[in-house]
Symmetry: C2
Subunit: 301 residues, 2 copies
């Protein structure tokens, strides 16, 4: 069995979504390595970007990651890169997510160590973001990335944008990279029995943090043309503090004012089991439940 090992998830984003050979070279670094498991990778040619999802023990994962970064920095030239998704480097961003027997503080420590090693090995400027950020104005990736690769050569020379590691000078072809630890994101969408987008937009506004709603919820209204419905599309940024059921019930409550009911919901991509088990525990009114009672938790220990 897997013993008492720590597990951390890493979702590096590479600025290459078209050249399959280059993509495979990068992804191959995560294959067939003891202690490393490639869960998923998706390339989007419009975005010209590949998102890799990998989980593993910190040390072997770091080794595999360093190898993949080498291939990306060798193979990707940001001077000729075009794509719809905002980007600032060949390895655009490297988020670390605690999975098992690892605290957020430990994940932050790992992310900082990786950031330091990358900067030294590849002479690459690295920004720390989210939980790893050294200052509040660097928590948000979009603030760091603002201006994208093209503006980065100048931006990085400003004292307030001096990188956390590496030279205050972009890598000529690989730009800059952001590294940070964060909670897992859960992409959670709730569909409504109406085709009026204004209703979904209004509800999204009420449930999301930025406009008065739940602390760890981002939300927007989306039209589902084929279904003739609308959707409140959410990113739950910390399900341990803003539970899925809470946003779900709040959407039901807000929809009721319009006489609209919830048609269903969906999770896009991966979700930690705890996010759904918390939801079951709430609806069943379970007392004194512990994740240690879940067979799979015990098996994975």
């Amino acid at each position: 069995m897997s013993g008492m090992k720590q597990l951390i998830q890493c979702i590096p984003n590479f600025s290459e979504g078209r050249n399959l050979e280059k993509i495979e070279t990068i992804v191959n670094s995560f294959r067939g390595k003891q202690g490393v498991k490639l869960l998923d990778y998706q390339s989007d040619s419009d975005h010209n970007r590949t998102v890799v999802t990998v989980v593993g023990e910190p040390d072997p994962l770091k080794t595999a990651l360093m190898e993949a970064l080498g291939s990306a920095i060798d193979g990707i030239d940001m001077r000729t890169h075009k794509g719809q998704h905002p980007r600032m480097g060949a390895v655009d961003v490297i988020p670390f997510i605690p999975v098992k027997k690892i605290s957020m503080k430990e994940a932050v420590d790992i992310s900082r160590k990786v950031a330091e090693e990358i900067s030294e090995k590849y002479n690459l400027p690295v920004f720390l973001y989210e939980e790893s950020a050294g200052r509040p104005e660097r928590r948000n990736l979009s603030d760091i990335r603002k201006g994208q690769f093209e503006a980065m050569a100048d931006k990085i020379k400003q004292p307030e944008w001096r990188p956390d590691f590496g030279p205050a000078k972009i890598h000529p072809t690989a730009g800059v990279t952001a590294v940070g630890a964060r909670m897992p994101l859960v992409a959670f969408n709730v569909n409504l029995h109406t085709d009026r987008l204004a209703i979904a937009n209004d509800i999204a506004k009420k449930v999301r943090h930025s406009s008065g709603g739940l602390r760890y919820c981002k939300a927007m209204g989306v039209a589902l043309k084929e279904k003739n419905m609308v959707q409140v599309s959410m990113n739950m940024t910390d399900y341990t503090k803003t539970a899925l059921y809470r946003s779900f019930e709040l959407i039901k409550t807000e929809a009721a004012r319009y006489g609209v009911t919830v048609a269903g919901s969906e999770i896009v991509g991966l979700v930690p089991m705890e996010a759904l088990i918390d939801t079951a525990v709430y609806y069943l009114g379970m007392e004194n439940f512990s994740m240690e009672q879940v067979l799979e938790t015990r098996i994975m220990e």
Copy 2:
């Protein structure tokens, strides 16, 4: 990572709950073995019985189990055994439960092979029960065990109680053993805001299979004196077919006729994550959800 390995759970029941040295000797067979994980063991001195919960890959688990059985058969003498729990052998019963990448049919095959090996190695009569039973009248463990150890010497000589493996003659000190594959049991209790036991008994009668209720639900009413409440105490015998939320909602519905509300619920012991995730999927009205979206499912693959 754990690779694509099959995992099976085994919950052998040993008829020794008082002599710590004997118990530890038995349990030690499941410790420190590659591919075997001891999840839990509980000894009850009133029952004079130890229940071990172990999970592992079929082959190493079988090897560890055979070793533990040897210690139990050596160390336990049923001629002098006394305890409240019904029992018929030193190794009273050995259930196998599919956990990962293993079908019920494969679990049945494993249980039959183990039954055969035990009978040969220890000259022990073995009955197959539950999913492994060769005939319908042997599905229920309590039918096999009826009469207990004391009556077994005669019972086993009757043609209809000829054992599935081994001699038609009890082992002088170890009696007989039952081996079978079954679905995981979930012990799920629902508390009611009343102290009237008759209400819990009536609801139990309505939700359980034996008296007209849900197919894979056993239930009885229990008084919770300290809480001044009553409880519908259930054994969910196949959560994949009779979901936890279904019995929960049915209890709410039946309680409503008495003007009684549900105070809460609890799960006793272990529960497979899927039983709770199914519940979350129901309450959130989730569409097209797959267990493959659960991070832990992917990690364990």
